[in-house]
């Protein structure tokens, strides 16, 4: 029989600590597939965030550094500058990247840092138990927004992809969703492209992955994916916001 789908080789053959149905697992697979496809496992150096993906290093079969909360782009910069022929990627949540690490991501983009950023936007702080993220939707409840996020109080959610797309050094910026087979297929393409951008030396690349957190959203995994499609995608439109062909200056 011909194998239609096999587990990517760059993933370690172990169980993850993620909750059942958490899309972090899907993103892991897509990243590993890109590494497999591009044959860069032995040049890849990942940077794990602080967030549910803090243990990402346990799951990928390549070198890793664990970075302080929000500082993965700075850590990645240090790595990439010291080992220019490595392929460096960060894996960051929305608290990590869009909140505490906002300066680091903006500046990595400005410098056109040749790194690939996998940005998992699940609109919540997963690891710490459901606090509000900068990407939490208006009205969405979180433990630190017990009445739902209120625009008057703390504004509308940050659209990171749109914001970074204004920066010339950002060669590739795309937003995808992990909410359906079709969207996952597109996510795969985007993630691959983000690595290719780095390999071509074209600059900074980021893929924002709209994700679910069934546990802290208080939903079943499939229900969470539907909620994502119905609530997140309208506010966070999918697509490519900047491509090496298109937008670079």
């Amino acid at each position: 029989m011909k194998q239609v789908y096999s587990v990517p080789k760059s993933l370690q053959p172990r169980s993850t600590h993620y909750c059942p149905g958490c899309t972090h697992g899907i993103v892991h697979k897509l990243v590993a597939e890109a590494i497999d496809d591009l044959e860069i496992r032995d040049r890849a150096i990942g940077v794990a965030p602080v967030g549910c993906a803090v243990f990402a290093y346990d799951y990928f079969d390549c070198d890793f550094q664990q970075a302080a909360h929000g500082r993965a782009p700075a850590v990645a910069t240090g790595i990439k500058r010291a080992v220019p022929d490595s392929v460096v990627f960060t894996y960051q949540g929305d608290g990590d990247l869009a909140s505490i690490g906002a300066a680091e991501i903006v500046h990595a983009a400005m410098r056109g840092e040749r790194i690939t950023v996998i940005f998992v936007n699940n609109a919540i702080y997963g690891m710490t138990g459901g606090q509000m993220a900068p990407t939490t939707l208006v009205g969405q409840k979180a433990t630190t927004a017990p009445f739902g996020r209120q625009k008057e109080h703390c504004g509308s959610p940050l659209r990171i992809s749109e914001m970074l797309a204004t920066i010339p050094g950002a060669a590739y910026i795309a937003r995808v969703a992990l909410s359906s087979p079709g969207n996952v297929a597109k996510a795969k393409t985007a993630i691959r492209k983000a690595f290719e951008t780095q390999l071509a030396g074209e600059g900074f690349a980021l893929v924002e992955c709209l994700s679910t957190c069934p546990t802290n959203w208080g939903m079943a995994p499939y229900e969470a994916m539907q909620w994502l499609e119905e609530n997140m995608i309208p506010y966070y439109p999918l697509g490519e916001f900047r491509t090496p062909e298109g937008g670079a200056e």
Partner: protein, 68 residues
């Protein structure tokens, strides 16, 4: 060998493969794996079209799919 192979001990019983299978060929088993979850199993191999969707959507890399 079946078309869809589950690494049962890694399954967390999230049900995503069940939900997304276009042929509704997967169900959750009655039994419990050592992690305490009801694992997914291929109930209807006949109807399975080896589309790979279940594998793609499985967050836990439980599934491999084959085409005869």
């Amino acid at each position: 060998m079946t078309k869809v192979v589950f690494d049962e001990e890694k399954c967390k019983g999230c049900g995503l493969c069940v939900q997304f299978c276009p042929k509704k060929a997967i169900i959750m088993a009655e039994r419990i794996n050592t992690k305490g979850y009801h694992p997914a199993v291929l109930a209807d191999e006949e109807n399975c079209i080896s589309c790979g969707i279940c594998a793609r959507m499985c967050p836990d890399a439980v599934i491999e799919v084959f085409k005869p």
